[in-house]
């Protein structure tokens, strides 16, 4: 490599010029093609968050329909076929298209800012992952609207979802949706892990990583080891249905419970992909609104890690009613109880933080307080479900519906709404309205409890899950009606949120860089951040960089020497975040989008024919190669900056 480049690197530049040049270098290209080519983590993060919220609303409308049908006994609003599709799509949407992706979306946006970086590690790959997620979600909703929606539940048990009892392509669409979302989730996880381990600001040692970033790092690792199980399972399901394999066909040596093991080995950790980021939000928000760092940082980090390990040892508690060996079940009861310990530790540390801090009661904190009430109840009913005898009564009843919504909404959605109120100023440059925010919170809190608390009683009183109606003489009518009233209230509260967000975007109070007086690095960037995040990438000297002076006496405080006209950033060492080398990020490109389109064609076609895998691979190979293939002009620029290791 002896070629010297004539391409010039901007050398000295006054500060204002530097900012303008950096902005030009890091921003999205213009126009529609530019929008499709964008790879800036904030651009991808924003559209990812908005898409996930869109699926949340869609899933909520499905839920509202279910609640309207169940509001009265013997109701005929929705018949059994449509109802079964609706509850399947509600669960599938909320779990695969909202809850997990939205957390990844928040990470894609926030993590680079929080660690003082300008990008995630693999921005083109994350763009591809976003498009795959979106296309998969659009596919499943298209199938539903065409009357081909999956109808075997979000967990798609065999043999019901198999070739004998699930005719047509309904459950193939479900299985392929899994492929889309798993590809997306896995690729983003690789990006997040590499970002957190290699792109942290100098001086941000492991002990100085913000708790939210820890949460996303741990979640990403969990995803890598858990998602393959369901990828494999859903592939086996498609194969059983399409090419007559016999994985789940007991008549030819297959096993019905194999599906459940593979699904729940993924499925239980999955709820922690949703819950652990929520825990990350909690720590970020509580520290800021209690005006002190969270108590017990080492315990908090170890609790997150312990939770993530234990999460892999619980899955059989979803199968207590099957005939897996009884002794095995007792082991899973023990593990299910044990996982409460790290969560309890975190809860007590947060209460200690609030007790020894000074409290600023703003909307983000209200949502966080909602967590304490709702999640704790959900966790306690979880202990009940972890006990085999109790589970045998309440499994597959509305008691479980109550439990799962208490933990997911209390543990993840309330912190998420708090996070949206908290980071909205950073993302948009405007504050959300406090008064609407408080109304949003109280309506959501009240509506949630009215909707879901009665379900505990319904389950104990014999009401099973997944029933499209029920007889009048069971006496379940009044509580169901009450639950529906709660559901409608939730819908109103979400509408308030949408109104607040839309209005505030245009008319909200202008936000300063750090409107909440918070401590982490994203609050050092502008609101909204420039395309390049930080003009002078920071050097970190403590755990709360914006609250205290550097603990590294005499250390530098910012990074210089990075190019202004090329997307150059600093890679640091994994443990100590010492500067290691300069890394040049790829330019925006249309190829991730085109590759996602090609992959989508391959995945959808393979629902109908196995040969699609063959010609589809060739179709995908072309844009993927173009994605990687270097451009001459860019290579010249890189050569001008090149220095061998």
């Amino acid at each position: 490599m002896t070629r010297r480049s004539q391409a010039s690197v901007k050398r000295t530049a006054p500060a204002a010029g530097a900012a303008a040049l950096l902005e030009q270098t890091w921003r999205d290209p213009p126009g529609l093609v530019g929008w499709l080519s964008a790879i800036n983590h904030k651009s991808i993060g924003r559209r990812f968050i908005v898409s996930a919220f869109g699926f949340f609303v869609a899933g909520g409308l499905l839920a509202a329909t279910m609640r309207l049908q169940l509001a009265r006994p013997d109701n005929h609003l929705v018949g059994p076929d449509l109802y079964n599709q609706i509850f399947t799509l509600h669960g599938t949407t909320m779990m695969f298209l909202f809850a997990v992706p939205v957390m990844q979306a928040m990470a894609v946006y926030l993590v680079p800012l929080m660690i003082g970086a300008r990008s995630t590690a693999f921005p083109r790959m994350t763009a591809y992952a976003f498009w795959m997620y979106l296309f998969g979600g659009l596919m499943i909703f298209a199938a539903f609207l065409l009357g081909m929606g999956p109808d075997a539940g979000w967990f798609s048990y065999v043999p019901l979802a198999g070739p004998d009892y699930g005719p047509g392509k309904r459950n193939d669409f479900w299985a392929q949706l899994i492929t889309f979302t798993e590809v997306s989730g896995l690729l983003i996880s690789i990006d997040i892990i590499t970002t957190v381990l290699r792109l942290r600001a100098p001086g941000m040692t492991f002990a100085r990583i913000p708790l939210f970033v820890w949460a996303m790092l741990v979640t990403a690792f969990m995803i890598i080891f858990a998602m393959p199980a369901v990828m494999l399972g859903s592939t086996m399901l498609i194969m059983d249905r399409l090419v007559s394999t016999h994985f789940f066909n007991y008549a030819e040596g297959g096993d019905v419970l194999l599906w459940q093991h593979l699904f729940w080995f993924f499925g239980h950790p999955e709820v922690y992909f949703i819950f652990i980021p929520g825990l990350g939000f909690m720590s970020a928000i509580i520290a800021t609104f209690a005006r002190r760092p969270v108590f017990g940082y080492p315990a908090m980090v170890m609790s997150i890690m312990a939770t993530s390990f234990l999460a892999f040892g619980l899955w059989v508690h979803h199968m207590f009613a099957t005939n897996v060996p009884e002794l095995g079940k007792a082991f899973f009861t023990a593990m299910s109880m044990m996982i409460a310990v790290p969560t309890a530790t975190q809860i007590f540390c947060w209460i200690a933080t609030l007790a020894t801090g000074r409290v600023n009661f703003r909307t983000p904190l209200l949502f966080v307080l909602g967590f304490f009430f709702i999640l704790v109840i959900g966790g306690l009913t979880g202990l009940m479900l972890g006990s085999v005898p109790i589970d045998l009564q309440v499994h597959d009843t509305y008691f479980v519906v109550a439990h799962l919504h208490y933990v997911l909404i209390g543990g993840a959605v309330f912190p998420l709404f708090g996070a949206w109120y908290y980071w909205f100023p950073k993302i948009t440059g405007r504050m959300m309205d406090e008064r609407l925010g408080k109304w949003n919170f109280w309506l959501f809190f009240a509506g949630f409890n009215v909707a879901f608390y009665p379900m505990h009683h319904l389950g104990l009183a014999g009401m099973p899950r997944r029933v499209y109606t029920y007889p009048a003489d069971m006496g379940w009518g009044p509580l169901n009606l009450l639950s529906t009233v709660g559901a409608v209230t939730i819908a109103v509260s979400v509408l308030l949120f949408i109104v607040n967000a839309v209005r505030s975007r245009r008319h909200g109070a202008i936000a300063t860089d750090n409107p909440w007086g918070a401590s982490s690095l994203e609050w050092a960037a502008a609101s909204p951040p420039a395309a390049y995040n930080f003009l002078a990438p920071p050097v970190v000297g403590g755990r709360e960089p914006l609250w205290e002076a550097s603990k590294d006496v005499g250390a530098p405080t910012y990074v210089t020497g990075l190019a202004l006209d090329v997307r150059e950033a600093l890679a640091t060492t994994p443990l100590d975040a010492r500067p290691d080398h300069r890394y040049i990020f790829p330019q925006p490109s249309i190829w991730p989008f085109v590759s996602a389109v090609a992959t989508t064609i391959m995945f959808i076609a393979s629902i109908f024919s196995p040969w699609a895998i063959v010609w589809g691979s060739l179709l995908v190979a072309v844009p993927v190669t173009a994605w990687f293939w270097p451009k001459r002009a860019e290579t010249e620029k890189h050569l001008a900056l090149e220095k061998r290791p």
């Binding site: 005006r291 002190r292 005939n323 209460i351 409290v359 009913t381 499994h395 709360e544």
Partner: protein, 321 residues
């Protein structure tokens, strides 16, 4: 709320053990919940107020925060003890559930179908084996061992007043042991999503005093009553010469198929179609004419019989007590 499909209205030792564990667990959970939320609310009430401009207190983490630490550690330790206690209670209940004395147990085999329950009473003497559908009768005070099989997809047998549920898994055999100590009729429902009419796959378990049970069983062993009047005779003829016999069995006639509920004593059942509608002549006529209107998706096709024929068939079936 009903008392007949209710986990907190136990009518036998299995459900009673579970109910006891439930109340104990609820108590322990309440004991955990109240102080935790109390501590939170007390902290919020007591803590000084701040705004965004209030300087953050970073000095606090450089202090040992001993008191806070000991409170948090104590709370975690107490939680751990509570969890261990719940684990112990759960395992003990597990153990108790497996200890139901099984001398002189009644043996029943339940096969789940979409969307009805095939119930076979087993006996060492093959001539004493009989089948019925959707209604289980058991003697009070005697253990019952239920073998669970499935003909198609996963179902789950759940009669909460008597016990927790157990799944019926195709290709596998499971068992459940119950005992009713109180006479009465308890309702159950399939508790594993099994398709279109999962919501209408109910069954009952009726516990009778021993003598009444023996009488019931003897009656079940009897073949179908021979029709005496003309209309009923015509009905029987329609049944055995038409498509009914291709799926249903009536002991004592030539109808011997096992693909659909056994109808030998259908007139003594309270409901039709696994708890979907009451067993009345009008409902039966409507069901025969078009089952898809009452329970869309069932395997039974429509039979649009001429009026006289339908009446005869319904009359005949009405004699099968």
């Amino acid at each position: 709320m009903n008392a007949i499909q209710n986990a907190l209205q136990s009518a036998g030792p299995q459900a009673a053990q579970i109910e006891q564990l439930w109340w104990l667990t609820l108590a322990v959970c309440a004991i955990a919940f109240v102080p935790t939320l109390g501590a939170l609310l007390w902290s919020l009430w007591r803590a000084p107020r701040a705004t965004e401009a209030t300087p953050a207190d970073t000095a606090i983490v450089s202090q040992p925060e001993r008191r806070t630490r000991s409170v948090v550690v104590s709370a975690v330790v107490i939680s751990g003890i509570g969890l261990a206690f719940l684990l112990l209670a759960s395992v003990r209940t597990d153990h108790a559930l497996a200890q139901l004395p099984l001398e002189d147990a009644l043996n029943i085999q339940v096969t789940g179908h979409r969307w009805w329950w095939d119930i076979q009473y087993d006996d060492p003497d093959p001539s004493k084996i009989f089948s019925t559908a959707n209604e289980i009768y058991i003697p009070v005070g005697r253990p019952v061992v239920i073998t669970l099989l499935s003909d198609d997809v996963i179902h789950s047998l759940w009669v909460p007043n008597l016990h927790g549920k157990k799944d019926l898994i195709p290709g596998q055999t499971a068992t459940m042991q119950i005992r009713a100590d109180k006479a009465g009729t308890y309702r159950g429902q399939c508790a594993e999503f099994c398709g279109l009419q999962h919501a209408f796959m109910a069954f009952t378990v009726t516990a009778l005093p021993a003598a009444d049970f023996d009488a019931w069983r003897a009656a079940q062993l009897e073949p179908a009553a021979q029709p005496t009047d003309e209309k009923a005779k015509r009905g029987e003829q329609l049944f055995t010469s038409g498509s009914c016999m291709m799926c249903h069995a009536i002991q004592g006639t030539t109808a011997n198929a096992r693909m659909a509920p056994n109808l030998t004593h259908v007139a003594s059942r309270r409901t039709l179609a696994a708890g979907t509608v009451a067993n009345t002549p009008q409902n039966l006529a409507a069901w025969i004419t078009d089952p898809q209107k009452i329970k869309p998706g069932v395997n039974m096709p429509a039979h649009h019989l001429p009026g006289g024929d339908l009446d005869a068939l319904v009359t005949y079936l009405g004699t099968l007590k």
